[in-house]
């Protein structure tokens, strides 16, 4: 190991490749950070692995969630250095295991659109969902989108009433802004000609969305992705977006992508648990433990799931009660509730219902209006 890293040139090469690999995995590594990393390596004349890792940790990564990606990438690349041939396969395998399956699907979809048989060969049981979503999105009548946006806007406006410390200039009413009036008077020779007013600003609500993307929710996934994208792109809320099947992942940044296809790509790259089993309890536990501070007494938590849980119900009960004690309110959106004869009998649903402030249907983009009505009170 030492003999490899002793050489500065090799270290440089290694580091640059690592950055490239990290970027491929969706970790944003800026040029400024790469420069800092190089300078640090030069400065410390690093000779051992631990220190190298430490420098990478400090300079290349800027959020805790990315540490895992760094270690994975590091190990993969190291294998590559030790036995170049084996590693190419390993990376391919790793990619396939991770999010790569999705990407592969993308590529195969692009390259072999005239060969429909190939899809099932590449990864059986795995639909070309992200591409389907694009189509679905196009299929959704465009006239629905403004209506949905309007519903969202109404929801946001009504709900954006949390008092805030920050104040804003007001025309005629509110408190007198002495400092502002004073400032204005400077241009009139120190004469206060007009009082300036200010009033407290209302802030955007904090929203945490936890969305179930497991197998049982598959039919609604198009709605889900559209909903999450609309909500994120509208920027009405200060929000964090999580998705889960057997594990929970924070995809806030990915959902904030500029365009819908870009968002699909980013989301697909970062989450590989689509259509897995449902472990709501474990997901809420991760939310409570790993992302605990995200939920504050000002936060409304919106959980979108059908409540078919394959995990530990006791755990679910405990974690829901913990979440309830920390959040402002919990809203459960269940796509099944849209069916006329539905009753919340699924074990998971029955457990969580007592902790939910609201329980509403969510099977089409129109149910946004219901959400708006409910949140707006």
């Amino acid at each position: 190991m030492g003999s490899i890293l002793e050489n500065v040139w090799i270290t440089t090469d290694f580091s640059l490749r690592l950055c490239a690999l990290l970027r491929r995995r969706g970790v944003e590594v800026g040029t400024r950070q790469v420069i800092a990393c190089m300078e640090a390596i030069r400065l410390l004349e690093i000779v051992n692995e631990d220190e190298l890792k430490r420098v990478y940790r400090i300079t290349l990564i800027n959020r805790k969630q990315d540490l895992w990606h760094l270690y994975r990438a590091y190990e993969l690349l190291l294998k590559d250095y030790l036995s170049p041939r084996a590693s190419a396969e390993e990376e391919a395998k790793q990619e396939a295991r991770n999010s790569g399956a999705v990407r592969k699907q993308y590529r195969s979809e692009e390259s072999s659109s005239n060969d429909p048989g190939e899809e099932s060969v590449i990864s059986p049981g795995y639909s070309t969902r992200e591409v389907d979503h694009c189509r679905d999105f196009r299929l959704i009548p465009q006239e629905d989108v403004p209506a949905a946006m309007a519903a969202l806007k109404r929801l946001a406006r009504k709900h954006a009433s949390l008092a805030r410390r920050k104040s804003k200039r007001a025309k005629r009413h509110g408190h007198i802004d002495l400092r502002g009036s004073c400032r204005d008077s400077v241009k009139f020779d120190g004469e206060i000609i007009r009082w300036r007013y200010k009033r407290k600003m209302a802030t955007r609500s904090r929203l945490v969305i936890v969305s179930d993307v497991s197998g049982s929710m598959e039919v609604y996934s198009s709605f889900l992705l559209n909903f999450l994208y609309l909500l994120n792109s509208a920027r009405f809320f200060r929000m964090a977006t999580f998705v889960f099947s057997t594990r929970l992942e924070n995809l806030s940044r990915q959902f904030r992508s500029r365009s819908f296809p870009e968002m699909l790509k980013n989301v697909a790259l970062h989450f590989s648990g689509w259509s897995g089993g449902t472990k709501i309890g474990r997901a809420i536990q991760t939310l409570n433990e790993t992302y605990g501070p995200v939920v504050t007494p000002k936060t409304t938590v919106v959980i979108m799931s059908d409540g078919w849980d394959t995990g530990d119900l006791e755990l679910l009960d405990r974690e829901m009660s913990k979440l309830r004690s920390r959040a402002r309110s919990i809203v459960w959106i269940n796509p099944l509730k849209g069916a006329p004869a539905y009753e919340p009998l699924a074990a998971g649903m029955a457990t969580t219902l007592p902790y939910c402030d609201e329980f509403i249907a969510g099977h089409s983009i129109n149910s946004l209006a219901e959400l708006a009505k409910m949140l707006g009170g």
Binding site: E28, G30, R32, Q33, A36, E39, A40, L43, L44, D50, E51, R54, V55, R57, I58, T59, I61, N62, R63, K64, L67, R164, R165, K166, S167, R179, C182, R183, S185, V186, D189, G190, T203, R206, R238, A240, N250, S252, R253, Y291, P293, V294, T296, R318, K322, S325
Partner: protein
């Protein structure tokens, strides 16, 4: 380990701060590369303390800005001294001289320095602590970008003020919201975990010297075991120190169930946790630490 790291660790140790190689590495690189450090970690693991000790180590001033919602340019960067400007205009009128120009009114004399400007204009490299940056608004982060990247500040009426002695900038965050990428990219990153047994024991012995070695080790293993339990609010290092102090002041010699129950308010801050602990956990936890005395 590298010599510079050892120097920093020893330096921090002189001021009662037990650092590991990660912390030393981040401080060393921040100084050498002239970059701010963003520190994240669970509550009470000593994030803010790093800035405080760094200021002592460098024998310089600690300029602290506690962030909160609604924090703006006037409170964080600079403000014009309007009252003084008005008084000057009036005096100028009364004395009937025409010496005062607009340029004079917007000069250094009329500028009120808020923490960030103060840190940039300090005569010596100061330590600027932006505490709990996640509590400020996202818009506020944008105000900081120029300072974080260039160590300068542009005031429209005045011009650009560039730091002669760039301060050490330390940002801390409790992750109540995701910080923007723009801010993160400009900083070195340091994640601090809950301390290991060795580190925690060392800290407790330093901070509470009167506590006997046996009791210190017993208390530490209790806290370490407690952190592995399911709690609503996991105790940090600072709570552990408080608890050790409480144990010392109540004259405990050997940790027993009654002592734990009497002083548990220092360690756990959630009623549900305390009830759980009293009902089921104290005995097993005392045993887990290898000091089962009162099951």
């Amino acid at each position: 380990m590298n010599q510079p790291y050892n120097d920093i660790i020893a330096g921090l140790r002189r001021y009662d701060y037990v650092a590991d190689a990660d912390i030393a590495g981040a401080l060393f690189l921040a100084e050498q590369l002239n970059k701010p450090i963003l520190i994240e970690g669970e509550a009470g693991v000593g994030k803010t303390e790093i800035a405080r000790v760094l200021a002592k180590l460098k024998d310089t001033e600690l300029i602290r800005l506690q962030c909160y919602e609604g924090l703006d340019c006037n409170a964080a960067l600079y403000e014009w001294n309007y009252q003084k400007q008005i008084v000057s205009i009036r005096l100028n009128e009364l004395r009937n001289n025409r010496e005062l120009s607009i340029g004079d009114l917007y000069s250094r004399d009329y500028l009120l320095e808020r923490p960030i400007l103060k840190a940039l204009t300090a005569a010596k490299r100061a330590v600027l602590l932006l505490d709990e940056i996640d509590r400020s608004d996202e818009e506020f982060e944008a105000l900081l970008l120029e300072t974080l990247a260039e160590y300068q500040l542009t005031i429209p009426e005045f011009g650009t003020i560039k730091a002669q002695h760039p301060p050490y900038i330390v940002l801390t965050s409790n992750r109540t919201r995701e910080l923007t990428d723009a801010l993160r990219r400009r900083c070195l990153y340091l994640w601090i975990n809950y301390p290991s047994f060795q580190k925690e024991l060392e800290v407790i012995q330093i901070k509470v010297p009167g506590l006997g070695a046996a009791l210190a080790s017993q208390a530490t293993s209790f806290v370490q075991a407690l952190r592995r339990e399911r709690l609503n609010k996991v105790p940090g290092l600072s709570e552990a120190i408080d608890w050790a102090k409480a144990l010392q002041s109540t004259g405990v010699r050997v940790l027993e169930r009654a002592d734990v129950e009497a002083t548990i308010g220092c360690l756990l801050k959630d009623q549900h946790d305390i009830r759980n602990l009293k009902e089921t956990m104290v005995g097993p936890l005392l045993q887990k630490g290898g000091h089962g005395l009162d099951p």
